[in-house]
């Protein structure tokens, strides 16, 4: 599993950094920053939740 982010879709809602703070952060404009592209365990569960909650569908989980 790896995380993909699409920064031009990001609206800076910050859902990801809130629910998975070890995987995502935001830059000064609120745009998503990927801290951990290959999260494990609890971080992976949190990242999965972030993917679903993202209002812009700017993050995705890739199985490849």
């Amino acid at each position: 599993m790896s995380i993909l982010v699409q920064t031009d879709a990001c609206v800076g809602a910050g859902q990801c950094a809130l629910v998975a703070p070890d995987v995502f952060d935001q830059d000064d404009n609120g745009i998503v920053l990927l801290l951990e592209p290959d999260p494990q365990g609890a971080d992976l569960a949190a990242a999965t939740r972030a993917v679903r909650l993202c209002p812009a569908r700017a993050i995705a989980l890739s199985t490849t």
Binding site: V11, Q15, L18, T48, L53, P55
Partner: protein, 400 residues
């Protein structure tokens, strides 16, 4: 509770799709059928009034899932398929192409724009096709009137200014609204529009419109003269009306569901045994206010969808959605989270950085923080502020 074998979801936008995906996240292995009346696979709507209208994105960029991905998740998607009726007792959905039996049905049909009473032909925006038509009109329109004082009116005014058109923003009320924040940001929004060259006409009621030439026909040149209640008039090339949405429940009219304003549901999204509703069309019981209320925001649709999927998969109650919404108007990023009492002005909250952005809060009678607004806010400050919002079920104003 045993999990259902067949889930049918009506409405293939973010709410409906998120129900389907979340069912799979929860380990549901029954049949999932998702149908939508648009010809497109699910796409996100928020970019329609922003990147798509501004011409920065092509339609494919708003797509959420490919056909192969949906197939891989075992989600059967029927596009171009409209629901036409519902038999609650028999648990059967009727469509324009046959009946679909279900064990659980989720209604996520959203809203459609309310036509302007004086000018039903005015452009409007809800679907991708609406956005592409409007974008084409905007490419040539030099004078644009936007009717509607809500978030979408402001966003479309902003998109038209990006294209350097002259923009008149018309509102019947005296103030500008921002979703659940109500009119608490009206002064700031007014200033923002004025700084970016939008002419505001508030307390202005449109009473008539005269079409010259091909007027409002798609792709036409020619102008429309708008007449206002105060006797003034204005000629423009393009009129966009964003005066609110009507829940798409007409196909449910003959059913036994309560359709007072959208599909009336309990606090878990249940409309009737075996029938749930999520998103713009759904009026869930809001435990904070004790009233049924429709919330027309993307994040609300997502959170309701996640909660309903968890309940269908294994009977959990799921988390109560907390309103979260955002916009970008003339390049200013505005985010709001929580609940807002229209009677109490926002109070600026402390922030940690020296950026020019602000975070303000809405407090309840007990002085507790219940909602926060970020205005170009440093993201960390907004996150800190929203984490401090009290989201437990308690009314904003004490009931006497």
């Amino acid at each position: 509770m045993s999990s259902p074998a067949r889930v049918v979801i009506v409405g293939a936008s973010i709410g409906g799709l998120t129900v389907a995906e979340s069912l799979r996240d929860e380990g549901f292995d029954g049949e999932i059928t998702l149908l939508g009346d648009e010809p497109h696979l699910p796409y996100t709507r928020p970019p329609l009034s922003k990147q798509i209208l501004a011409g920065e994105w092509q339609p494919e960029q708003a797509a959420i899932r490919t056909a192969a991905e949906l197939d891989g998740l075992g989600i059967r998607v029927l596009t171009g398929r409209a629901a036409t009726g519902l038999d609650v007792e028999a648990r059967t959905l009727h469509t324009d192409d046959g009946a679909l039996p279900f064990d659980e049905l989720v209604i996520a049909t959203g809203t459609r724009p309310r036509p302007h009473p004086v000018l039903a032909e005015a452009s409007t925006l809800r679907t991708m096709d609406d956005a592409l038509r409007l974008r084409e009109r905007m490419e040539t329109a030099r004078r644009v009137a936007v009717i509607g004082s809500g978030i979408l009116g402001s966003e479309i005014a902003s998109a038209a200014r990006k294209r350097d058109a002259e923009v008149l923003l018309v509102g019947r009320s005296g103030s500008l609204g921002f979703g659940g924040v109500g009119t608490l940001l009206s002064d700031e929004l007014t200033r923002l529009h004025e700084q970016h060259g939008v002419e505001l006409a508030l307390r202005a009621e449109l009473v008539g419109a005269e079409l010259a030439g091909a007027g409002l026909a798609p792709n036409a040149s020619g102008s429309t003269t708008l007449a206002f209640a105060d006797g003034t008039s204005r000629a423009v090339d393009l009129v966009v009306a964003m005066i609110g949405g009507t829940p798409r429940t007409e196909w449910l009219a003959a059913s036994t569901l309560d359709l007072a304003d959208g599909v009336v549901c309990d606090h878990l999204g249940v409309a009737a045994p075996g029938i749930s509703a999520v998103g713009d069309v759904a009026a869930w019981l809001d435990p904070i206010t004790g009233r049924h209320r429709r919330v027309e925001h993307q994040s609300n649709a997502i959170e309701q969808a996640i909660a309903v999927a968890a309940r269908l998969a294994h009977g959990g109650e799921g988390a109560q959605p907390v309103p979260l919404f955002w916009s970008e108007i003339h390049g200013t990023r505005i985010h709001a989270y929580g609940w807002f009492d229209p009677e109490r002005p926002l109070a600026e909250l402390p922030k940690t950085s020296d950026s020019p952005g602000t975070v303000s809060g809405s407090h309840d009678e007990a002085g507790e923080l219940r909602g926060v607004v970020g205005w170009n806010a440093p993201p960390r400050d907004f996150r800190t502020a929203r984490a401090a919002v009290v989201t437990t079920i308690r009314p904003l104003v004490a009931h006497s």
